[in-house]
């Protein structure tokens, strides 16, 4: 059966949820938390950028957030011979551990299209200390601007945000025995 996104009860007042300190989820790590009224949500730190994904695959309800973060491919057509493939978007594609469907962690959209998507939420870091990257030993004084990472701020998931409103509303999809 298709999995319908659970609508938020009208009386629910939670609009955002504090996950904890952003330092608890270093780059490359993830944490699955339980939000009252929502259920499990996976929070991912991808190269310093945070993402939150509801832990329910729109296909058959699989635990999305335990899936592998990978890249995907795109075709390069070459006249007169077979097409080749190019590996792209490393680490930005979340594959459901049940049937390996690919989802774009930025938008929640399934890569095969058909308007299939997993619910994703906006995440931001409040407060915290902005720190430059560690000194790499280069001579100081050049004009290069270093990126600034947020360390130790409060990691907040917006539950009623723009992305959350685009919940998975798929219908007519038959069950997959695969």
């Amino acid at each position: 059966m298709p999995v319908q996104a659970t609508a938020l009860p009208a009386t629910l007042e939670i609009r955002s949820f504090v996950v904890g300190s952003s330092a608890d989820i270093p780059p490359g790590q993830r944490k699955i938390i339980n939000i009252p009224g929502i259920g499990e949500v996976g929070v991912f730190n991808i190269r310093g950028e945070f993402f939150a994904v509801r832990n329910v695959c729109p296909h058959q309800g699989g635990p999305m957030c335990r899936g592998k973060l990978t890249g995907t491919t795109r075709a390069c057509f070459i006249p007169g011979t077979r097409p080749e493939l190019e590996y792209i978007r490393d680490g930005e594609i979340l594959r459901c551990p049940w049937h390996a469907w690919e989802f774009d962690i930025r938008t929640g959209e399934a890569l095969f299209g058909e308007r299939t998507r997993v619910v994703v939420y906006d995440v931001h870091v409040e407060g915290g200390e902005q720190v430059p990257p560690p000194d790499n030993g280069e001579a100081p004084g050049n004009a290069e601007i270093y990126p600034v990472a947020v360390q130790g701020g409060r990691l907040v998931i917006e539950l009623g945000g723009r992305r959350a409103s685009r919940m998975a509303t798929r219908s007519g999809e038959s069950a997959d025995a695969g």
């Binding site: 995907t72 491919t73 795109r74 075709a75 057509f77 007169g80 011979t81 077979r82 097409p83 493939l85 049937h99 390996a100 469907w101 690919e102 399934a110 890569l111 095969f112 997959d176 695969g178």
Partner: protein
């Protein structure tokens, strides 16, 4: 418009093809024109009323014209001759395909036997020899009555493989669909007729054959051929509509998980059928009852994808009279000729005999 999308003409006797074979092949061995390796459930092996006083069934254009065009009330018949299968000597196989085309043009498609242009022909090629295949396509593409290219169902490499790409490009460039049909047995270098080995009896060989067509279709889709050659159309002219449907369900489902292996297959596998694939409906393609057949056609968009064929003069000949009579009118009209007319660009005005009735 009523069109027979696959009828199988044959020479009067096997050695007749030598007239059109170039040397040294004319003077050397040649496989038989009619293969009798498996015992068909019926003797004789051919359709009633298809055998002239002398010569093979299906060898007389006048008889075929009477049975199909006059008594059968068809507007056009697409002739799809078989070419005696894969041969160890590729040169001989290429020469045999070329001779088959010369023969068809000089006989069935000649002004004598085809004054009104209602016989349409198939350019037989050997796709496993791409350079020769392209030469043969170029040789006949300008002929007014060759409307498609014909390739064998049996291969050593499935048709999606890059080796064939220049051949498919040549066909598409000339607006010629590529028809896939079993080539009648061969003389021993084909793979077994099923992927798992040799069947024992005719029923196994015959009823399992369409699975090979489904595999060829899967190869074309999964190798991205229809993305690479945008105007290419394949006609599965030997059944397989009934087995292709469930295979496409499976492909569609697995594509959602495995599409990153084949990013050139940019769309749902089944979505390529509409623009790139047609099936010839054989007697057994689909469930038995006519209500169920209508349902099956609906599920897989048969009204758009399927074309009637008589399979004359083979034993399972489906006469055009009353064929598919139980189908809903619009679906029946499309399958009985509308789809073929569109694909092969046939119109009634093109047939002089018919012109006065338009």
């Amino acid at each position: 418009m009523r069109v027979d999308a696959a009828m199988h003409p044959v020479v009067t006797k096997s050695s007749d093809l030598r007239t059109w074979l170039k040397e040294p092949w004319r003077s050397t061995g040649l496989p038989e024109a009619v293969n009798r390796d498996l015992m068909r459930p019926k003797t004789p092996w051919y359709a009633e009323g298809s055998k002239p006083a002398s010569g093979f069934a299906g060898s007389d254009p006048k008889l075929a014209r009477r049975v199909l065009l006059e008594e059968g009330d068809l507007d056009y018949v697409v002739l799809l001759p078989l070419t005696r299968g894969m041969m160890p000597n590729l040169r001989r196989e290429v020469a045999t395909a070329a001779a088959t085309n010369e023969w068809l043009a000089a006989t069935w498609l000649s002004p004598e036997h085809n004054p009104d242009g209602r016989f349409k022909g198939t350019i037989r090629i050997v796709p496993r020899s791409p350079r020769d295949a392209i030469v043969e396509i170029e040789r006949w593409a300008g002929h007014p009555h060759f409307v498609q290219v014909g390739v064998p169902l049996a291969t050593h490499l499935p048709y999606g493989r890059q080796e064939y790409l220049p051949v498919w490009e040549a066909a598409a460039r000339h607006g010629l669909p590529v028809a896939v049909h079993d080539d009648g047995g061969g003389i021993g270098i084909e793979f077994p007729p099923t992927c798992v080995g040799y069947p024992t009896t005719f029923i196994e060989a015959f009823s399992m054959r369409p699975f090979n067509a489904a595999i060829q279709l899967s190869s074309l889709i999964c190798e991205g051929v229809f993305e690479q050659v945008k105007d290419l159309v394949f006609v599965f002219a030997d059944g397989s509509f009934d087995v292709a449907g469930p295979m496409l369900w499976r492909l569609d489902k697995d594509w959602k998980a495995a599409r990153s292996d084949i990013p050139w297959t940019e769309h749902l596998p089944s979505s390529y059928l509409k623009d790139h694939v047609r099936f010839v409906l054989q007697r057994w393609d689909g469930p038995g009852g006519s209500d169920d057949l209508a349902k099956a056609l609906d599920i897989w968009n048969g009204a758009e994808l399927v074309m009637y064929a008589s399979n004359y003069p083979h034993w399972d000949y489906l006469p055009p009279q009353g064929a598919l009579a139980d189908l809903p009118g619009q679906t029946r009209d499309a399958i009985m000729g509308g789809n073929a007319a569109k694909l092969y660009r046939l119109n009634q005005a093109a047939a002089p005999e018919m012109a006065e009735h338009v």
